[in-house]
């Protein structure tokens, strides 16, 4: 059957081992193993952390005889994830797919192609939804008692949860794409939308009640009011908790009917939108063509900035740290009083808030790993840099400086704001600023070395480099490692005063930076030539 043949190809394209881990097990076993370990670690820590929170939360709900509330969480989390995926993926998966020119001339029914495309998109959604809600489901069964029928009901209904968001938000996704294409800065618009969505979710998650027993208790009210207006959420809860067959049939039949209708409805639309293609409006100017002569390193930095803002996934993954620094910097001033109350609470524990601020900023700096992937992102354009008479070290330093530009100003801004709110002494502020400078430079330089040794030039889209390459992973880990070493020095030599301890770390980071800097200077050219 053609549907299964298409599925085989699409799944190979989207879920192949090489695609998922970003490297080939046959050609580089160590790389592949390292990535697999890191992925397991990453997922494991998220699931375990999430799991622990919901386990404790489930205990509280069970004591209050409200354990079924967890099912509302399952439904809302599943729905939100589905909305997110559909909103950002449906346009590319359905309405403007890249292989339209290959598939359309083939003697295959459009409906079959659409259904296959939908299946692949749904597979992505199902994997994510099942992974994220599994700790909640575990908590539910642990505290309310395991029941195989309930488990089967949950599995069946989890397969239905993404269908309603799919039907509604696929059109929203198309509308956003077509609307933003009318603007010159359509990418910026998409970025703002993505960040707003994420920050909205974060705000929702942060609507915690710290005075309660669980940070999740603050969400009960919000979720309960959402569920009140969504009939399927109530059916979902009743179908699982009370094993109500009618409610289950309600969810299943409604979802399947809507999906079928959706496929029939969008068939012509999918063909039309794909035929139209996606071209962003370019404003033609009568401006005279003006040349500018600049230093090569300035050119490289400028090119990096333009590349950064032209790839949504790049900004979204590496730009979250700076945005959080900016938001955090402002928020710390606004919520100064609340913060000072918490500081009073922790005063007796002996926590140093200057060190905590540095640790937090260190973590945010580690999320900005552009220097560890920007060489890889040259991809098919790498021939340009290789064929030009530009020193490899100039290219690498340009990429490194771009990373510093992204991290340093905003981390210093956040630090100054924190110092105003928390009244750090001048000496402390000075050493903390120097520490951030040393960390930003070292982190960027380490990223450059990592990318020189672990480049990935063959990729279909940038996501493979930004999210799945070894460079990205090591880039983030290397900064964590430095921050951990700095923290250990702080911990083991805690008899020394704060400025002295930070100075020791500055000396260590600066020494390491000088070493790495000269390594790049010496090794970049020969490595470049072999790449």
């Amino acid at each position: 059957m053609m549907y299964f043949k298409l599925m085989k190809v699409f799944f190979k394209e989207n879920f192949s081992f090489k695609k998922l881990i970003g490297t080939d097990l046959k050609t580089s076993k160590i790389k592949a193993i390292l990535i697999i370990v890191a992925i397991i670690y990453g997922f494991g820590s998220v699931i375990l952390g999430f799991g622990f929170m919901f386990f404790e939360f489930g205990k509280i709900l069970q004591e209050a005889n409200m354990i079924e509330m967890l099912l509302e969480f399952v439904f809302i989390y599943g729905t939100f994830l589905s909305v997110f995926f559909v909103l950002f993926r449906a346009n590319g998966y359905l309405f403007h797919y890249k292989d339209f020119d290959i598939l359309q001339p083939l003697p295959i029914k459009s409906r079959t192609v659409i259904f296959a495309k939908l299946t692949v998109m749904l597979a992505f959604i199902y994997i994510t939804v099942f992974l994220i809600v599994s700790p909640i489901v575990f908590s539910y069964f642990y505290h309310s008692g395991f029941d195989i029928l309930k488990l089967l009901t949950i599995i069946v209904l989890l397969l239905m949860i993404p269908l309603l968001p799919l039907v509604i938000f696929a059109f929203v996704s198309l509308l956003i794409a077509r609307f933003s294409a009318n603007f010159r800065f359509s990418k910026a618009l998409n970025l703002i939308l993505m960040f707003t969505f994420f920050l909205g979710i974060m705000y929702l998650s942060m609507s915690m009640n710290f005075s309660g027993d669980s940070p999740l208790s603050g969400q009960i009210g919000v979720f309960a009011s959402i569920s009140k207006y969504i009939i399927t959420a109530q059916w979902f809860k009743t179908a699982v908790h009370d094993l109500n067959l009618l409610a289950m049939l309600g969810v299943v039949s409604l979802s399947l009917v809507l999906l079928t209708g959706f496929i029939f409805l969008i068939e012509k639309l999918v063909i039309k939108t794909n035929q139209m293609g996606m071209t962003t409006k370019v404003r033609s100017t009568n401006k005279a063509v003006i040349s500018k002569k600049r230093e090569m390193i300035v050119n490289i930095i400028d090119k990096e900035i333009k590349k950064f803002f032209s790839v949504t996934v790049y900004v979204f993954n590496s730009g979250f740290g700076p945005i959080m620094m900016a938001i955090g910097g402002v928020a710390i001033l606004i919520f100064k009083e609340d913060l000072l109350t918490y500081i009073d609470l922790f005063e007796g524990v002996g926590l140093n808030f200057e060190a905590m601020v540095l640790l937090l900023l260190g973590f945010l700096i580690s999320t900005v790993f552009t220097s560890a992937i920007s060489l890889s992102l040259e991809g098919k354009n790498f021939w340009i840099l290789k064929s030009l008479p530009i020193k490899a070290e100039t290219v690498m330093f340009g990429k490194m400086l771009f990373n510093v530009i992204l991290t340093l100003p905003l981390s210093l801004f956040a630090l100054f704001m924190a110092s105003i709110a928390l009244q750090f002494s001048f000496v402390n502020l000075l050493v903390m600023s120097l520490y951030l400078i040393s960390l930003c430079f070292l982190s960027s330089a380490l990223g450059s070395v990592i990318n020189l040794h672990f480049p990935k030039f063959n990729y279909v889209n940038e996501t493979e480099v930004v999210k799945q390459s070894l460079g990205a992973l090591l880039g983030m880990f290397s900064t964590w490692l430095i921050v951990t070493v700095n923290a250990l020095i702080y911990y083991f030599l805690s008899d020394l005063s704060f400025p002295v301890l930070i100075l020791l770390n500055i000396i260590l980071n600066s020494g390491l930076f000088i070493g790495v800097f000269f390594y790049i200077k010496k090794a970049a050219q020969p490595i470049f030539y072999k790449l």
């Binding site: 962003t280 063509v289 803002f309 340009i384």
Partner: protein
């Protein structure tokens, strides 16, 4: 001059993509490089341009070794790939400036050349637009302009006529003649045998990584056509 001595390169350490290549190309030459798909044309061009390293041999550009004196050798050279993959986030003029800065071309000189070639290839009106909005042919024209912006002594081109409209192809051939008159040497690969026959004073034919014929075009083809020679040489294998 461009001198290639005993150059070999293998991607998998088993089969040689180019095997013991020897060629000498002099200023004023338009040297055509012909071969079947996968024969090793792009590999050799990339090796000369300093994009790919090679396992054996030596490539010198006006006495500078591309392996040992990489930057100096590149300063007199321009390379145009078979596919115009360029920085799509830049505008046409930003890309040209980037390349001109790499070769340290003065503002006056670059302005003159950009004006001249932009008019010639009829892309003046789009130079302020992002390259991502260009068609394949327009991108190709920008890449060609970027190669001409520093008056190179050596021009390496990989299938330069693919994707160009007839007028642009004609203009590019005119540019070739203009450059060789100034002493530039041009080495380009092509599948279009007629172009090679009419345009090149010298040709080399590569088969499975080895040069099987090279020299003056007239000497290579004698009383036959280049197409017949090419097919005969392929059939010999």
């Amino acid at each position: 001059m461009l001198k290639i001595v005993n150059v070999s390169k293998s991607y998998d350490k088993k089969k040689k993509a180019i095997d013991q290549i020897n060629l000498e190309i002099y200023p004023g030459d338009i040297y055509g490089f012909i071969g079947h798909n996968g024969a090793g044309k792009t590999t050799l061009l990339k090796a000369i341009a300093g994009i790919l390293n090679f396992d054996e041999g030596e490539i010198t550009i006006f006495g500078k070794s591309i392996a040992k004196d990489n930057l100096e050798a590149k300063k007199v050279m321009a390379y145009i790939p078979d596919n115009p993959d360029v920085y799509e986030s830049l505008t046409g003029i930003q890309f040209l400036d980037f390349i001109a800065d790499a070769y340290d071309v003065s503002l006056e000189k670059r302005n003159n050349l950009i004006k001249k070639y932009a008019q010639m290839f009829e892309i003046e009106s789009v130079l302020n637009n992002p390259i991502s909005s260009y068609s394949h042919g327009m991108k190709q024209k920008v890449v060609i302009m970027s190669a001409l912006i520093h008056n190179p002594k050596v021009m390496l081109l990989d299938e330069p006529f693919v994707g160009l409209d007839p007028k642009a192809s004609y203009l590019l051939k005119e540019v070739f003649h203009e450059l060789v008159a100034q002493g530039t040497l041009i080495f380009f690969s092509t599948h279009v045998l007629e172009v090679a026959e009419k345009l090149c004073n010298k040709v080399a034919i590569i088969r499975n990584g080895k040069i099987v014929a090279n020299g003056l075009t007239l000497d290579v083809i004698k009383d036959k056509s280049l197409e017949n020679i090419f097919i005969d040489l392929l059939n010999e294998s």
